[in-house]
């Protein structure tokens, strides 16, 4: 059991948590009001976001100072690592809910609507003539006819991009471990770049879907699962890329040592996570 005997650093009071809570409160109140059509709500929402972002800079600022100030024991470092890994696991479960929805509707709901299993009368009386296949926007063809995104265009390219990016980040990591700062900076920068290119292509893909394929978020269950899965993934790529960007800036500022670079590793783990999720998406949403 890894208990190092030097004392654990217990930080003194911090005002960032309470700032963060206020920020979240404003954000949530704002977005709720917005959805209900309140006209000042968008501003409350924006304000809330600003506060949250400010909180992050302030809070992480403190942590960075402390860590650069060398008051963190190995044990604190370990706490951070464990914390990050469990956070990533919770993220995995969030995606699991949406993958679950995809499998459930594809393999159960649609066949039932057609009259399968114990739903003979569902098909016969409610949706006569409906045939379960995938892709589908349901018996009422919500959103009208649409085409699907072919896997072998942009999506395949994006897969290549993400895979490359997780290679580059690994190179960067090794470089950092044996103190090759230049290498680190270059390959980390490359990773960030690839990340943003991915997001850019995703954007193009969405425009293509809406304009040419009539594939929209309201295109029945296919559109729902497609956009929710890829959308939330895209969001996470953006976040991951921003994290890496900040790490890059810190590398340029000479932060981190060959031994201690938790922030780097945390962002790298996160990056691998979005990478793996994408593979799942590519297989289950695009190919199959």
């Amino acid at each position: 059991m890894a208990h190092t005997n030097d004392k654990y650093y217990v930080p003194h009071g911090s005002h960032w948590p309470i700032v963060g809570s206020v920020g979240l409160l404003l954000t949530m109140v704002g977005v709720s009001g917005w959805l209900n059509g309140g006209d000042i709500s968008p501003y409350i929402f924006a304000l809330g976001l600003l506060v949250v972002i400010g909180m992050m800079f302030g809070w992480f600022g403190n942590v960075i100072d402390e860590s650069e100030g060398g008051i963190y024991s190995d044990q604190v470092d370990k706490s951070f690592r464990m914390g990050m890994s469990w956070f990533i696991i919770s993220e995995v479960m969030f995606f699991a809910a949406f993958f679950g929805a995809l499998f459930y509707t594809r393999n159960m709901a649609l066949p039932w609507l057609e009259g399968g299993s114990n739903n003979f009368f569902t098909g016969l009386l409610l949706w006569p003539g409906f045939e379960a296949m995938w892709p589908s926007n349901g018996p009422a063809a919500i959103g009208g006819a649409f085409q699907t995104m072919s896997a072998w265009g942009l999506p395949a390219l994006n897969t290549a991009i993400l895979l490359t990016s997780s290679v580059t980040i690994t190179i960067a990591h090794h470089a950092l471990r044996d103190d090759k700062r230049g290498m680190t900076a270059i390959f980390l920068g490359l990773t960030v770049l690839l990340g943003f290119i991915f997001v850019y292509f995703q954007g193009i893909e969405y425009i293509h879907a809406y304009q040419d394929l009539n594939l929209r978020m309201d295109s029945g269950i296919y559109g729902s699962t497609f956009f929710m899965l890829t959308g939330f993934h895209g969001m996470h790529v953006t976040i991951g890329a921003l994290m890496l960007l900040i790490v890059w800036i810190r590398v340029m500022r000479g932060h981190f040592t060959a031994k201690h670079h938790f922030a780097f590793e945390a962002s790298a783990w996160y990056w691998h996570f979005v990478d793996v999720v994408w593979l799942g998406l590519f297989i289950f949403v695009y190919i199959l």
Binding site: G13, G20, F80, T105
Partner: protein, 530 residues
């Protein structure tokens, strides 16, 4: 600006006892597990009263047949809010509060592993419940679709709808951060020699609970997010016309929901397992099987969820599978009950208030468990489902289960927190009143359910009148008794007989090696456990 956390702070400052900050800032900025634990506990007590007051509105309307006091729509709002507030506002924060206070003391850690995040997880709660309670005042009123939020009904909620979704998101964020903190503390902060199988059971049950939280809270977040997009962004997750299925929400919700109910009982198991050995003056029987039983309960809880949906029209094989897995849970739970009994057997028992509540827990939780088992029998559940029999079941496991566990823990550790003994006579009085009234309130509900009274109705056929009257009387009695509880706590915090470090007759555990009240900073030097 960031002086409060300036990096020149070194651990030496920690030798001064008492908080660094004073006044309101102490509570807003604190990173101290004891302060945060206290805030959690106070918050949950307030929420118990808010949710309880709503329960009393429910009981008042149900006092006799006919609509006397509220409109049906408002009644449904009360039912929904009552459940959400009790589960997410009272029970869960209470357990997190106890974890904050006791886990570092029990494993010999100076504090929680991530103290700032610890503070944040607490301070998100007031925001979440601020939003939730505010729904009572928006057009369309509070959510009224039941705490299970089934679509399409929940989509008929007024302006409260997005507020409901986002407050659930906030509760989720808070619990996940709390759970991460607890896992990391237990895994990384234990004193030298405190091996996993030397940890007190309260620590074990909380460790497993924390895993459950991390695995299911995000799923709930996903489910309500789908509700949100179905409502505002035209997705069809729960719309048959678009190829979705309303029942899919129930599957996702209960994949969270069933583990959730064990999240609300496992820490109580832990508390009881701490208290009974102390007052039986005898080591806990079958420590390791207790640990394994807890783990298997947690595992099984992931494959039983559809027992809440037996009437939703699952294929036969599904119904049978979920019936079998659900019944299985009785085995590890039974192991626990038997181990507790064996711990008392041939002990030398005394019955201070914590022990009284722990013993009542054993009896009444088991009764709730039995009714649970009856609900697991699919064909019989066709009769029980959505009747007051279910309401009786879950109140038995939640009120004399979870809530009694919490109350027992509070009486058990209160002297350690305040440095004073509480008033034993008032404590015992509180116990007897609470135990009598809780049964008066919830036992008749078994009869009502079997006789055919559906749940979630504001008015009922006249043959149900008498038992409802009894339940209502019981509820008010129970409520008033809790005012006594509050008084005992205040009195004990204010003063009273000085408590020794041990408090009880040589109890086991590191928490009893530090003075009472526990100084602001404990175990700066990790103790060594042999």
């Amino acid at each position: 600006m960031s002086a409060a956390t300036s990096n020149d702070a070194t651990h030496d400052d920690h030798h001064d006892h008492g908080p660094e900050l004073t006044g309101i800032k102490r509570w807003l900025y604190t990173t101290n597990h004891k302060d945060i634990g206290t805030m959690y506990l106070v918050f949950s007590l307030i929420m118990l009263f808010v949710g309880g007051a709503m329960a009393l509105v429910i009981r008042t309307e149900l006092g006799q047949p006919g609509m006397q006091f509220v409109q049906p729509g408002f009644y449904n709002q009360m039912v929904t809010m009552h459940a959400l507030i009790m589960i997410f506002g009272a029970v869960m924060p209470a357990f997190v509060g106890l974890a904050n206070w006791m886990i570092p003391l029990m494993v010999g850690a100076p504090d929680m592993a991530l103290p700032r995040m610890n503070n944040w997880s607490f301070w998100i709660l007031p925001a979440a419940f601020g939003i939730l309670l505010a729904t009572l005042f928006v057009p369309g009123g509070a959510p009224a679709g039941g705490w299970t939020m089934y679509p399409p009904l929940v989509l008929q909620t007024g302006d409260a709808f997005p507020m409901l979704i986002f407050s659930v998101h906030l509760m989720g964020i808070s619990s996940i951060m709390g759970a991460i903190n607890i896992i990391v503390t237990i895994m990384n902060m234990r004193a030298p020699g405190m091996t996993l199988l030397k940890m007190p059971l309260f620590v074990w049950t909380w460790l497993i609970t924390a895993y459950l939280l991390i695995l299911v809270m995000p799923v709930l977040a996903g489910a309500v997010t789908m509700l949100l997009t179905d409502q505002f962004f035209g997705t069809s997750f729960f719309r048959a016309a678009g190829g979705g299925d309303p029942v899919m929400f129930q599957h996702i919700f209960w994949f969270f929901g069933h583990p959730e109910v064990y999240i609300m009982i496992l820490p109580a198991f832990g508390i009881v397992s701490e208290i009974i050995p102390t007052f039986a003056r005898k080591p806990l029987f079958g420590y390791s099987s207790m640990v394994y039983a807890t783990a298997s309960i947690a595992f099984l809880s992931f494959i039983v969820w559809a027992h809440h949906m037996f009437t939703a029209g699952m294929p036969l094989t599904g119904q049978l599978f979920f019936m079998f897995t659900t019944m299985l849970i009785a085995v590890p739970t039974g192991v626990k009950v038997f181990n507790w009994a064996a711990t008392m057997w041939k002990g030398s028992m005394t019955f201070e208030t914590p022990m009284l509540f722990a013993v009542a827990f054993l009896f009444l939780f088991t009764i709730g468990g039995f009714s649970g088992l009856m609900l697991a029998i699919v064909p019989a559940d066709f009769q029980y489902h959505d009747s007051y029999f279910v309401v009786a079941h879950f109140h038995y496991v939640l009120v004399p289960g979870a809530i009694f566990g919490i109350i027992a823990g509070v009486y058990y550790w209160l002297p350690k927190w305040t440095g004073h003994m509480y008033n034993e006579f008032l404590g015992k009085t509180h116990f007897w009143l609470t135990t009598i009234f809780v049964n008066l309130t919830f036992f008749p509900m078994h009869f009502l359910g079997l006789a055919g009274m559906p749940r979630r109705i504001p008015d009922y056929a006249t043959q149900f009148a008498d038992f409802n009257m009894i339940a209502t009387v019981g509820a008010f009695g129970f409520g008033l008794s809790q005012l006594l509880f509050v008084w005992v706590i205040i009195q004990c915090a204010r003063g009273g007989k000085k408590a020794t470090a041990e408090v009880w007759e040589n109890p086991v555990g590191l928490e009893w090696t530090v003075p009472s009240p526990a100084p602001h900073h404990t175990f700066d030097e990790p103790p060594v456990v042999k």
